[in-house]
Symmetry: C2
């Protein structure tokens, strides 16, 4: 056993000792069963403090490379006992007999030629290698959402798409985007500023803070961090705050990527019932007392998927309960700009505009008003939170694409985006009215909905006995898609509702689409009655 410590190195002595022993154990130079010198003896031999040897041995014990038995001393552990530190029941079968290296020569990207004499390489056993979390993840609602969306979208002109949660391509302001992009890139303003601060360019944070003040949220640039879409904010907030086992309260049906993100952190998700006025805040105190949640995730305005908007009284209750239980609130406000009411009704004030002690973290995005292709959203939060999210983001994507930020800067300057949103709101209000009118005209008995005050979605309760997945299959056969309610449900079992994105289809298709859904619903109901 050769050991050679450098007592003037910047690497602590115990680490040098552990590293040298580790290498000799792993390489086989010290065989399994080899008895290591007692700590006191080795310390004397190396002329180091006994603690140094103690720490080195402890580290190697933690790595299962050595083991002590009382009265017998310290031994090199066998590979088998070492191997047991891996996942129990690991079904991978290492081929421990040494086979020749499998190396291919690649020429011009042609498929590599395999040497026939070599034993074949076992292809990766994917289902074993994938993490438990990701195996569960794929199995769940993603696949379902995909099924609902496949074949929809702009490419197949025959589909009437109430499913997809993004704008109709025809509503994307291509000309405006082209104009601002050309301005953004013709300018020399950003030369020598190729990278952005993690939190985003100062000028953009400033304009976003102004945009937020227009919405009724008092904040300045220090409260704002530019995100690569508001979804990224949920992910960062979860990393920053949620420990495994923490409880998170959500509306019983909600934005499903948020559910997946909470699951990814092993949070316990508790659904709070929703009625026509959004989250049942009368129950909230009970839920907080029972579950002591770390945070409440809510979409109080033009809710996805239910289209509901929480009245001021409920908002006050929510904030009051959050304060008393020191529970954080994540307010997801992706749709807040798309309000179809009139001035005398009073525009909903965001929770973040009613609270200034730091409990509410506010998320929004340009994905619903301009295009999700920009991948630009933002969070408004206490500077403590902004700093923490920025630190965590270093290991994710560093900052939002510089080109996207430049485009958003130009969009926000001189109120160009406000003009676009005003026009979009007019068009969307008309589509909302058309959808509701069509529902009133065609809907069969037992189908219920409420009229959303803004946003994208109308949430339709199906007549008794009609299952959303059966209805979806029928409608898709007739070229109409929507999202089945189960996708959004905390328990993934709600088969009694469907979500219609009333602003996604071409305006001319809305009435026909609703009529097809109504007819198919009637068929489903008849089938159930037989």
């Amino acid at each position: 056993m050769q050991l050679d410590l450098n007592r003037r190195s910047g690497v602590p002595m115990y680490r040098q000792l552990a590293a040298q022993l580790r290498e000799q154990i792993v390489s086989g130079a010290l065989a399994a069963g080899y008895r290591l010198p007692p700590e006191r003896e080795l310390a004397a031999r190396l002329e180091v403090n006994r603690t140094t040897v103690l720490q080195a041995y402890q580290q190697l014990k933690d790595e299962h490379l050595i083991a002590s038995r009382v009265g017998k001393g310290t031994f090199v552990a066998s590979v088998e006992s070492g191997a047991s530190v891996g996942r129990e029941g690991d079904p991978r079968t290492p081929r421990t007999t040494r086979t020749p290296a499998v190396v291919h020569t690649i020429r011009d990207g042609a498929a590599p030629a395999s040497d026939a004499a070599e034993p074949p390489v076992i292809r990766p056993p994917w289902s074993v290698l994938f993490s438990d979390y990701s195996n569960r993840f794929t199995y769940h609602d993603i696949a379902e959402a995909d099924r609902a969306q496949r074949g929809s979208g702009g490419r197949d002109a025959h589909v009437i798409d109430f499913a997809t949660g993004s704008p109709n391509p025809a509503d994307i302001p291509d000309d405006l985007l082209r104009a601002v992009s050309l301005e953004a890139f013709a300018s020399h303003e950003f030369d020598g500023q190729p990278e952005s601060p993690i939190e985003g360019f100062d000028e953009l944070r400033d304009l976003l803070a102004r945009h937020m003040r227009d919405r009724g949220v008092g904040c300045d640039a220090r409260n704002v961090m530019v995100l690569s879409g508001s979804e990224q904010g949920i992910d960062l907030i979860v990393r920053a705050f949620v420990n495994p086992g923490d409880h998170v309260l959500v509306e019983q049906s909600t934005f499903f990527p948020a559910l997946q993100t909470f699951r990814s952190a092993d949070a316990r998700i508790v659904g709070v019932p929703v009625d026509a006025d959004g989250m049942r805040t009368d129950l909230l105190e009970g839920y907080c007392a029972r579950f002591r949640p770390k945070l409440i995730y809510t979409i109080p305005t033009f809710h996805n998927p239910t289209g509901t908007t929480m009245p001021m009284e409920r908002r006050r209750t929510l904030i009051d309960v959050a304060h008393r239980y020191q529970c954080l609130v994540v307010e997801d406000d992706a749709y807040g700009d798309l309000w179809y009411g009139s001035a005398d009704e009073g525009r909903p004030v965001p929770l973040a505009g009613m609270e200034n002690s730091g409990y509410v973290m506010y998320l929004s995005t340009f994905s619903k008003t301009v295009t999700s292709g920009l991948r630009t959203g933002w969070v408004v939060a206490d500077p403590h939170v902004v700093a923490r999210l920025a630190a965590l983001r270093r290991m994710v994507d560093q900052h939002t694409s510089t080109s996207s930020q430049r485009i958003c800067l130009e969009l926000l300057k001189e109120g160009r985006i406000a003009g676009h949103v005003a026009g979009l709101t007019r068009a969307y209000r008309a589509r909302r009215d058309a959808t509701v009118a069509a529902l009133e005209r065609w809907a069969p008995d037992g189908m219920r909905w409420s009229v959303p005050a803004g946003g994208y979605y109308v949430w339709v309760a199906l007549p008794d006995g009609v299952r959303s997945l059966d209805l979806l299959a029928r409608c898709r056969a007739r070229g109409v898609t929507f999202m089945p309610g189960g996708v959004f449900d905390v328990d993934e079992t709600d088969d009694a509702h469907i979500r219609l994105n009333m602003v996604r289809p071409d305006a001319a298709d809305v009435a026909l689409g609703v009529r097809v859904i109504a007819e198919c619903t009637r068929r489903c109901a008849e089938n159930r009655s037989q």
Copy 2:
């Protein structure tokens, strides 16, 4: 106890029952201690299957809302016992006496006026609310890296910056980027395609596959997914594959955001020793036998931070061991395009070009050759892996910014990027040579380094007794920064090395910068000797 089940609803009966009981318990309508009817009795009363009641009760037991005692029946649990489902020792102190709601009126973004009669809201106890993981995270190397980097960068002209891991702003091809951006956005090619597929635009995936084939990696567009920087690939791969407790092998010193990402998944990170030829693959079999790692993360070419390049023989060994232990390999090749050798030396072939059964996942980026502001990288992997990463990415950022993708498309077309990289390589080779010449001229006894064949970094071993953090403090006082070795070390204890980004400073500053480091090193060594 009023219960009203709808047997034709799409919501399963047991869920309806659980939801109604939950609401009554949480609202207090059913008080703590209330005895629920026995399962059989309730089933008869509701005319449902006994299993329905069993399932509903089980769900509520899992939520700690009800509890059974043998021989006594099933009772509503008290809030106290319910509250115990929260984190033990949760130091948040709910103010359970109801206080008036705290609501502010915001006008023009002014600070909200507080009603003096109301009890003050307790500000969020951040350190309690932050997750354990994020509290650890911030405390670790990020702060250190920040300290090393603060004040550096292009804005303070007096700093000679060997620290920052991105290009010198003067090396960013502003004119090329402006030209391709204007072309990209003037074109109508992407009208009506505002969003990208998760994996990236087909045309870009195709061009990246061609780029990879030029590097010796056989692949096609199906193997390529566009990322928002290659770091995002590490994050997605970790989510897809790493279970808590899985072992991950890395070079003993490595790209530190990768370490943070592995830690975020509660992986056990094991450092494999590195010498002048990179990872000690002679030890790899022993590490795999001992630890059965889920994956090996490696930077085989122009390693960060050590500047080493694995010879072909080691690459073959690594792949062979990975095959036999069915261990995945993440090859991080951020610097592979920046090779300073001559044609007869033979350019290093990526691991991904030597393996085609799916074990190697390859990551690269435009951040080191163009600008990290683009936030565009890519992964090359088996289509199974691409599909899984795409599914997981839905909850992160959906896809890479459309504008960044368009710019990269234009860059790759007609070999424009190849021309830029060729020029950059010439400039960087000269800076590498200048750095090495300065080290040879000025370095004090005991300072050691090897000459990197490409990439950004030269890794300098300090003379015995000189600590990297002491040296950094001295150098920063004289306007020179670099990264201390501990930032990259798996154990965060290496204080004996420093990393110099030899291509980051202005060419004219390299010699002066190295001379300052050499002089400060000599001072540190003298101080130690006294």
